[in-house]
Symmetry: C2
Subunit: 391 residues, 2 copies
């Protein structure tokens, strides 16, 4: 994998990307004030835009996700992150909707980010890449939708960091969003979540192969640090109950404890696997930048701490969902958003899904969750005047 | 600190220890079957043993604790881990009780552990040290009490890993324990807790300065890896509410976000401090061995999964306490022990303390908790025929 990354740096032509990509004609002015250029946004689309361009659904991916939502992922060969929910006749029906998903700014699957080529220096951006925010990611997506000719989204949907983007869309571009579905999200990253992100960043930066961010030049990959970061994060994506159900204290391919530091327990083996496979598909510097963007997210702070001010007068229809065993973005976080929306008489529905699968439930088989979102989409589509779902 | 460690290896004489130490005259046969020798147990005592040797209280320390319970710690200069609760007139009144605390086997504050000198090789044990268990730690403590002439403990008390030792004492030596107080503990380490420990171990082992465990020989210290391990663990010791109350999203000595990877947030700065100070007082290999001992702990497994069997016929009086916001050793873990004790009609009291301080509450100012333990101790002392507390 390190050779593949080096190859991308050596030959950063758009041809190295497997999906669609848009390179903006003008710099993107970031929240930090930096004018970033060039900016390429890698994206995928599914289905077709209708004549009045009213059927576009934007999906926003989570921290380690990307724009390969449905079908097989070109790098991992595994199904896209919402392959079960996006497709013909599925919850997000690609025969009704024009579905768009973009790799976030700062990402590592084709959009401009720290592993991409910086023409100003003739090498990979590395730590020369400016710190980006959720607002910057959304701003880039808005440029992409301009390019695609979509003035108003029928819906913007995402979980986790995707939910942050959804909320940012609704706050920043209320008239470009007909409906919004933030799932398992928050209006600001909590102290505990910042703390977990900081552990991951420190793990990466502690790896000598990180080379102060210049590992692509040095021909190394901070595999150990990134793997540890992923392991720590992965625990937070699951619930204690899910870990107990999946692994408990069962031993890994052995009949008894070995009295050593091998992975005696299945849960150890599983975590190590999560860490080691992650480094094959994700860039360490991207991990730093995207976690930072999440940490910086705070819709209340920019309104003197009053979240409802962010939504005053919003025309957007909201549907929020949380999962009972999610301790990374617990129900209380979604409920705080619902209260803020209620305070400004916004159109909002909310459901807490009873699940023991933890935060990752938004990616997993949760029929009640899917029925809830399906119902909301169908209702909103009817109001928007879109054709009914084929039954 | 690395020079101090080297000095201990180069000159492992008992004189390098600041407290008391016992070197066993015979090898200690470990649960793994290994006969470990020599075995030194560093310990502290407070108060005096009474004439009939019935007033001994054994305190069992947690993962990163040690035997310096009260007074100033000789290495850190800070108060011992239960300095507020152990002393004349305090909850564990050193005018009534002979209080003993030993550094656990595998530890790094004077007891035999991986950083100590291995006469068989002429160098530090490192990874040649055998994997030890909670049972081994308790067995070593029993030898120490033999040496001190204490046949039966009035009480054995400890929180977290200390609670594991308390339970092990009650199960393995029921007639040597009059009363037992396991606080914020568990009868077996959960999958989630094993997972967090594995992250810490992988962080340490990922550090090139760990040198496959031989860092003392190489003159290095795996500071970065141990620091990351501590940071990840430290989050689990606090509650989300405590982190929010202590830090929230407040910035560290700055008026605005810096759009960089410095510690913008107080919680980041705090965690980094926790990590960097920890490496000055704790040995990385000890961290590996002690976390492993906790992972291996399972009182039910050795009774075909039926925990109550471990306690059948126990004469020990139990008092259990848990904390409502502790998600590392949640109340359900203590409750499972209480149910098992009830199933064999053992003498047990239990209280869940309402606290937002998380797992660390057992070390902090929690008056209701202290009153509960005080009441139990006073009641048990009366039954044991010990003098009443001076009022």
């Amino acid at each position: 994998m390190s050779s593949e990354r080096t190859a991308i740096v050596a030959a950063p032509a758009p041809g190295s990307r497997t999906g669609k990509a848009l390179t903006l004609s003008e710099p993107l002015v970031l929240q930090s004030g930096v004018a970033l250029s060039p900016v390429t946004i890698a994206y995928e689309t599914y289905g077709a835009l209708n004549a009045d361009k009213s059927n576009c659904v934007l999906l926003c991916h989570a921290l380690t996700g990307d724009h390969y939502v449905a079908g097989a992922h070109p790098v991992t060969g595994k199904p896209g992150w919402w392959a079960d929910l996006v497709g013909p006749g599925k919850m997000i029906d690609t025969e009704r909707f024009f579905v768009v998903c973009a790799n976030v700014l700062g990402g590592c699957m084709g959009s401009t980010g720290p592993k991409e080529f910086n023409p100003a220096t003739g090498k990979a951006w590395g730590l020369d890449f400016p710190v980006i925010t959720i607002r910057d990611m959304v701003k880039a997506q808005a440029r992409l939708l301009d390019h695609l000719g979509v003035q108003q989204l029928f819906s913007v949907i995402g979980g986790s960091m995707g939910a942050m983007q959804v909320l940012e869309w609704a706050v920043r571009y209320p008239h470009r969003v007909f409906s919004a579905v933030p799932i398992a999200g928050s209006y600001r990253h909590s102290a505990q979540n910042i703390a977990f992100h900081e552990v991951g960043r420190q793990a990466i930066m502690a790896d000598p192969d990180w080379c102060h961010g210049a590992y692509l030049e040095k021909g190394t990959v901070p595999k150990r640090g990134l793997s540890v970061a992923r392991m720590a994060a992965h625990i937070t994506y699951l619930s204690e109950a899910a870990l107990h159900r999946k692994f408990g204290r069962r031993l890994q391919d052995r009949a008894a404890l070995t009295y050593g530091f091998d992975a005696d327990f299945q849960v150890e083996s599983y975590l190590r696997h999560q860490g080691s496979t992650f480094v094959d598909r994700f860039d360490a510097n991207s991990y730093l930048y995207i976690t930072r963007a999440m940490d910086y997210f705070d819709l209340a702070a920019e309104n003197d701490g009053v979240l409802s001010q962010a939504f005053r007068g919003t025309p957007v229809r909201f549907c929020l969902a949380s999962f009972s065993s999610d301790w990374l973005f617990p129900t209380a976080e979604s409920r705080a958003i619902v209260h803020a929306l209620n305070a400004v008489a916004a159109n909002v529905s909310f459901v807490e899904i009873d699940s023991d699968k933890g935060h990752d439930a938004f990616l997993l088989d949760e029929p009640e969750f899917h029925q809830t979102v399906q119902g909301f989409i169908d209702g909103a589509a009817a109001i928007r005047g879109l054709p009914k779902r084929a039954v």
